[in-house]
Symmetry: C2
Subunit: 190 residues, 2 copies
Amino acid sequence: MINYPIKRKPQIKSTNYANLGMTLESDIEASNTYYLNHNIAVIHKKPTPVQVVNVSYPARNKAKITEAYYKTPSTTDFNGIFQGKYIDFDAKETNSKTSMPLKNVHPHQIEHLRSVYTHGGIAFLIVHFKPYNEYYLLKADILLDFWDTQDEEKGRKSIPYDTFKNKAYLIPFGYQPRLDYLKVVKEKLL
Amino acid sequence: MINYPIKRKPQIKSTNYANLGMTLESDIEASNTYYLNHNIAVIHKKPTPVQVVNVSYPARNKAKITEAYYKTPSTTDFNGIFQGKYIDFDAKETNSKTSMPLKNVHPHQIEHLRSVYTHGGIAFLIVHFKPYNEYYLLKADILLDFWDTQDEEKGRKSIPYDTFKNKAYLIPFGYQPRLDYLKVVKEKLL
């Protein structure tokens, strides 16, 4: 009985580290599956873009890709429809206790979120502060404000944790759905 | 000189066949770029999903995928936002003069379009009848009607060209945008 928590702790830790970036993604994908199966929303993760260079055909009808490279995505990872509204977001994780570095977000993702926001879509980031195990929904307009007012020379280049506390919305983490971000969308963004 | 055209002919032919389904796709992508640049809509093609099996690292920070396979997509190829509305569609080509075979559409694409349609999104197919060089926008509800009333034994399993003539909308083909499908969406579906 005494050993149980001691044994278990590192196991959890290693799972967390091995799945860096995967856990949040899989939590969101599990939530999306829940939303789809319960007829709440249709939201999917886009496949990771790959540049295929060589393909061989070891068997008829079976293409084997033998050389390919990961490409930088031109949009965010997730989009779909909820209550007739277009939803678009990306997911980010940080180990920082004080801020989310803006280098975590690609410029083309920023521009994509800006376009979506301009066209009346619901655009945001889901940010996981790992030290607190807190998940925040940060609306695109707040992200864009920070992005656009970055001082190139002094370089803020991060969004303080306090901004999340004050201006973003905490996403409830639970069993089903694991990460109920659409509850926040429904209550705060619609 | 005499040999040149003989050599060249099969090359052109093979290019055409190799790009089967690519031309329509690239016409749509060119239109999407036009829409994006002119601030009309934000619509992107989803990357082709690939199952990565092996990755090597010939250089630091450079991942080379050495074994991967194409996966069946779980959704349609295109989605995005237009005038605040969620848009979702797939593109199909047929060489038939009389009908579009329903085997061109994967069951999961049908179910995805059904979900989108149920959630109030704008869902459709763009179908290219190659013998006529005509492009049609077929609303998801008509597609679903045909799909759901398929006789398993007799098996219609195709949508007649006449149905396209009577119930679908011809998409204007031009220079910019090449395939102005949002004109049809705006006039007929909004």
